[in-house]
């Protein structure tokens, strides 16, 4: 079979895996409610009592919701499947390990994108205006895919305990939220704070969201988009390459 036909066939099977993930892991009332409530409450706990405008709050809230939801389930799907003894069956099907991981990423991407509509609709209801809808839409889609690709990076260690992977993910995710210009704008951070912020992919999405909603960003939009793209490529390559090594060790 020519390589392009093979890639198309494997992509179709990734979609089948994504649909399976959505049905089994994401389409649960508690997962959806927790996906919205957790970042909202975390955000409110740091913003209530401060005199912040809706234009400032919504980009931050959107960044947090997108980041937390797109990375919430994807890290634990593989260890979950290994623990439930469904992974061996899946691996013996005519699918590559990359196909399985891309399927998991696509499910996470769809979940992140769907839940991110909640703060966007809330913002529109509260009167925000999106100055650059196209750039904003591209940024939301790109960021959802970027964060979804980060999820499987957390599950590279071949443990079959979802709790261990969740702990690894939390150790990374929480600090990222605090260094990404969500609670304090990048312009107001000291030089060392800005340097730290630049290592977080969430920084670049928040910056584009601020540009689109507040009309000003810290970095040029093209730079934000390119860096988000670079992070996406990095997470994808790391997740796909390293899962190839570690997934057989889960069995």
């Amino acid at each position: 079979m020519p390589e392009t036909a093979l890639v198309r066939e494997q992509m179709r099977r990734s979609l089948v895996i994504a649909r399976k993930d959505i049905r089994i892991y994401y389409s649960k009332g508690p997962v959806i409610i927790f996906g919205v409530l957790f970042p909202v409450f975390l955000f409110l706990s740091f913003t209530i009592g401060r005199q912040l405008s809706v234009d400032f709050m919504i980009p931050g809230l959107l960044g947090m919701v997108l980041f937390f939801t797109a990375t919430s389930i994807s890290p634990i799907v593989v260890p979950w499947e290994a623990q439930a003894r469904t992974l061996e069956r899946l691996m013996s099907c005519p699918v590559r390990i990359e196909t399985i991981i891309i399927g998991d990423i696509l499910a996470s991407f769809a979940f992140g994108l769907g839940i991110s509509l909640v703060p966007i609709i809330l913002g529109l209801f509260l009167g925000i205006t999106v100055a650059s809808p196209l750039i904003f839409a591209i940024a939301v889609i790109l960021a959802a895919f970027c964060f979804a690709s980060l999820g499987p990076v957390f599950s590279i260690p071949p443990t079959n305990l979802p709790a261990t992977i969740n702990m690894i993910a939390s150790v990374v995710k929480f600090p990222v939220v605090f260094i990404s210009g969500i609670f304090i704008p990048l312009d107001e951070l000291p030089a060392w704070g800005q340097a730290v912020a630049y290592i977080s992919p969430l920084t670049y999405f928040t910056d584009i969201a601020r540009y689109s909603i507040q009309g000003r960003g810290h970095l040029p939009v093209a730079v934000d988009l390119l860096v988000l793209l670079a992070f996406t490529a990095l997470f994808l390559v790391v997740a796909l390459k390293l899962h190839q090594r570690t997934m057989p060790r889960r069995i």
Binding site: V16, I24, R85, P94, P248
Partner: protein
Amino acid sequence: MNNDVAIQVANLSKYYGQLLAVDHISFTVGRGELFGFLGPNGAGKTTTVRMLTGVIIADKGSASILEYKAGSLKAKQVTGVVPEMANAYADLSGWDNLMLMAELYGIPASVARERGISLMQEMGLYPRKNSLVKTYSKGMKQRLILCMALVSDPEVLFLDEPTSGLDVQSTRLIKDLLQSLNAKGKTIFLTTHDMDEANQLCDRVAIINKGKIVAIDAPEKLRMATSGMHSVEVSFDNVVSPEVLANIPGVNAVKKLGDKYRLYTANPGELVVSLANYSSSHGLKVISLNILVPSLEDAFVALTEKETEHA
């Protein structure tokens, strides 16, 4: 590669750390053959199946399924697998699990539906096809996993302990299905602990112990080749001490089984004559006398114990 060969394995090895779990094994399985793979726990059976089905990667050697490299997408496409202790997705219905597998094998939806209905009917699952798998019994789950392995109509089927711990009805359904699939020309690679099952179903069996193949042959030939394992079961109308029976010429060992004795010998015909002479000279009456040929289990124990002693 010979067209008559379905599975070819050459010097396949797998290490887990320092442990050599599978030690340079080689064998072939013919097309349409029902091949049994027997061995004690930890012998390397499941590791071998996992290498052949592409779930884990071999450290040395090579294997092919039909003409394709084991583990390649093409090899997986022509293979159906029932892994050891595998589960279907508990939060999906039996039917949805089956259709998921069909989609992962790229089977057109109409063909998948037709096959799915037929398989579920054959396995007695059709009335519960829309129930979630978490409501299925263990036997139903295992029958479903077999349906999932067959929905792609594979040429080669790998089954790792498919009837382990199942009720009689499920075991019989699965055995009947395997026989009917084999009669249709499917190649079946069956890992099992159940010697009766291997004896009834398999054209040939391989016995693996400590990662090495210790014997490959037809079950009947393996049984008959087990020297010293023939036995005569005898009971008398009066008490006879086992020590006395052990002194009869040709008796290698004596085992008391209730009111009977099993006498192990290399030559059962001669032993029957000796027993008749012994009973008449000691005024004993023989109540029952049976010549027993070694079972596959006897052959298995003899071969694996011999290997262990050598080690």
